[in-house]
Symmetry: C2
Subunit: 472 residues, 2 copies
């Protein structure tokens, strides 16, 4: 994970460009100056400059030095308005489409702008492996029997400590460990609904939520959601009156696919509104640790005094994707969720739980997270610049304050499903807008994953994507 | 796992008693004779005899030597007839009862006759830990991305090889890895049914199947099942005509709770019958490796030419309970099952998959299984002898040819739920009959787990249980 000296220097310069310290047309400090200011060798500085040149960020002019290119002008404008779904309750039929589209993207031969995970090289696999090897040696055969269904007590304690550090009081006994956040979310949904119920979701909405609703025979009501501030509370209130939903399923932090972050006052108002109606809130907070700001934005769970928030998260986006360890903090529904866990998959894989508990006990997670957030922030800036440079006139893209997605609105009339097919033929995946909507809307939209390595291959692929998106 | 010398000697003598070579009242060979015949020291022989004495199998008589006790007389008689449920389709409401009863048993302070798992000390945890540690060091970050939903290709290949060795042709690409067999079974059920459908099950039936049906809004039709031969094919045929079921869910091998093993001709006839009606068979084969006979009984899947058998199994009962690694071989429903896997939990924990793949590649699983089967066989004999010695007159118990359960029929009028409560107060768990029935029948029955260490504590607890079960 530790970057080489020249890569670190290149990242620092890239950050200066992203932050506007260096603007298009500006000349970079000379190699000699940079050697002095960064205490680096000339070879290191040259390597850094060549890397930035390969990424299209700077360009050498004969006998004048290096200059910041036009490709680095500001990110594209953000989409402005909330979405406007028609507000009907929809029977779902989306799983097959989602499976086909995602399945086609799952190959390391494809440039993964459609992927749901950040780059696998971002995670401390070696240190996790050490924790795993250590844990494997000291296994008590009875340990998994004791904590069978709620999950390893050591791991639950570590998770509770992290919430506590962020000012959120959680008791380890309130936590149920699951096979990733998606299982946790599915179990929570099963605990609070019966087939035929209406459930309110965001628009656009994480396709996993739509699939879960479909499988459990629920009706989805899509509620307008702002690309920056999240779900529209007025529209939510109106939808409650109209549909008497049994539950609301939201991602208040770095929403998938928009990246929207609900302001804390909105979250507080949301929790109060739902408490008045005694409606459970299923809160998907899997990107909660991936904030770019000053501190972790509080999840809705932090404002929950009625026990109506079923908060779910995982380590899959921030530490160990393949381990498939997530959890639910289901408030007053804890017993029901544990019951569904027992009857659906009995327990969660012990080696992964032990390894993560050992890793967290040893320390170093916060250090890893600081690096990860910084990397994701830089990669987002690179992707947004490239979109500004290569995508059709009139394209908009969200600039989330965390996570690793941007939601791209192509000019009206664009066909994201067709673009998905053309891109895949060129070895590039995207997540087209219609998979984020029960009504298959958002036909001119894409979700782009900014969390993979921003290298020559990625830069070329995004330029290709922009070309394929041109009208005509 | 390797038993000490004296424990091995004790096991050999116990086996001689179980097999009728030594009968109640017979005198054991003298210590001196045994030293010679087993090339053992006197101290080893004494330790073995003391162990057998502690278990109540032999008794010393002053100046005469050791004798086989009366407690070792033959096992209790087996239940004779098939169950006779009324054949109605039942809406289910059993999950809460099962959860409460099993939850109360999950403590290492309780003698686990109600447990669903064999003794945790039976598994090669140290060797699995080595495999895990090795696998952790060589992790390719992209490996989990490539095989995300179907599971690690290396592990699927090893599973396919085992089937092949038993004469069952399975392609690795037909396999979907899951979080234990129970998730695999749930995914298969979701793939072939819609809420409201009728599903045929055995009577008595694994409560996990009843819970799965309940959660998915299905109706259960219980079909009479013989304690030795499994489901009654005539009754099955009649139930198909009456209920037009969408699926059949069975355990043809060492059925839970009866231990019944369908003869292979019955399995062949079963598969042919269902193929005529185009009804999918969900086959739960989690005890398939735990046979006591000459060879592995073929599962129903071996006779499936139409792709209608969705075969599920796992390593949880035979190798690594806490790892939660199972699989489905869903025949023509492979794509649908993979889709449900993706939308329910995305993927299965990578460290556990890697460790099991490495363990299987290294060899030694068959050696472990031979020891495990032998241990389970001996423990079953011990439990059956103790039931014969301590339970009320008229008690019957099945004597399965594999697995680690016996189904105990107390005399008519006994109340297994009341016995469960009294036993738990005495620190002993049992699985009462009504949790194995949608109609909450089998009120005078218990499932007893024979798979835990047969030591003084267990022997005392089973004697206590027999006393608590006495009428009046």
């Amino acid at each position: 994970m530790k970057p080489t000296r020249y890569a670190a220097l290149a990242a620092a310069i890239e950050q200066a460009i992203a932050g506007g310290v260096l603007r298009p047309g500006d000349r970079l400090p000379s190699v000699r100056q940079t050697c002095v200011s960064h205490a680096a060798s000339a070879s290191t500085v040259f390597q850094a400059y060549y890397l930035l040149e390969a990424r299209g960020l700077i360009r050498a002019r004969a006998r004048s030095g290096w200059f910041v290119t036009e490709a680095t002008r500001a990110a594209p404008p953000e989409p402005a308005a909330s979405s406007a779904p028609d507000g009907a309750a929809v029977q779902l039929d989306i799983s097959a489409m989602v499976f086909d589209i995602l399945g086609a993207s799952m190959s390391r031969a494809v440039v993964p702008f459609g992927s749901a995970f950040p780059g696998p090289e971002l995670f401390p696999l070696a240190r996790l492996g050490q924790a795993l090897a250590g844990a494997a040696q000291s296994l008590d055969p009875w340990a998994t029997v004791d904590d069978l269904t709620p999950g390893l007590a050591r791991l639950r304690r570590q998770i509770a400590r992290r919430y506590l550090a962020d000012g959120i009081a959680v008791d380890p006994d309130e936590i149920v460990i699951a096979n990733g956040a998606l299982e946790a979310l599915n179990l929570c949904l099963a605990a609070v609904t019966r087939p035929g119920d209406a459930v309110l979701v965001e628009s656009p909405c994480f396709y996993g939520a739509l699939q879960a609703l479909e499988r459990q025979g629920l009706r989805a009501v899509e509620v307008p959601t702002h690309p920056r501030d999240g779900i529209d509370l007025g529209a939510l209130d109106a939808a409650i009156a109209r549909h008497a939903p049994r539950a609301v399923w939201l991602m208040p932090g770095f929403q998938n696919p928009l990246g929207a972050l609900m302001p804390e006052p909105n979250k507080r108002a949301l929790v109060a509104l739902l408490a008045r109606h005694a409606i459970p809130l299923i809160e998907d907070d899997v990107y909660g640790e991936l904030w770019f700001g000053e501190r972790r934005p509080l999840p809705a769970k932090a404002f929950d005094t009625a026990g109506l928030v079923l908060h779910c998260s995982s380590f899959s986006k921030s530490l160990a994707p393949g381990y498939r360890i997530g959890w639910a903090i289901p408030g007053r529904f804890r017993q029901a969720v544990a019951r569904h866990k027992l009857s659906f998959s009995i327990a969660t894989s012990a080696p992964a739980q032990m390894a993560l508990a050992a890793y967290l006990e040893r320390g170093g997670y916060d250090r890893h997270l600081r690096r990860l957030r910084e990397t994701l922030r830089l990669r987002q800036a690179s992707v947004l610049r490239a979109i500004a440079a290569h995508f059709p006139e009139g394209t908009r893209a969200t600039r989330p304050e965390g996570g690793y997605f941007t939601w791209v609105e192509l000019p009206a009339g664009a066909d994201a499903l067709a673009l998905h097919r053309r891109a895949l033929a060129a070895g590039i995946s995207v997540a087209p807008g219609p998979i984020f909507s029960a009504a298959r809307g958002f036909r001119n939209c894409l979700r782009i994953n900014c969390g993979h390595a921003w290298d020559e291959r990625a830069a070329t692929a995004l330029a290709t994507l922009g070309r394929l998106a041109q009208p005509g």
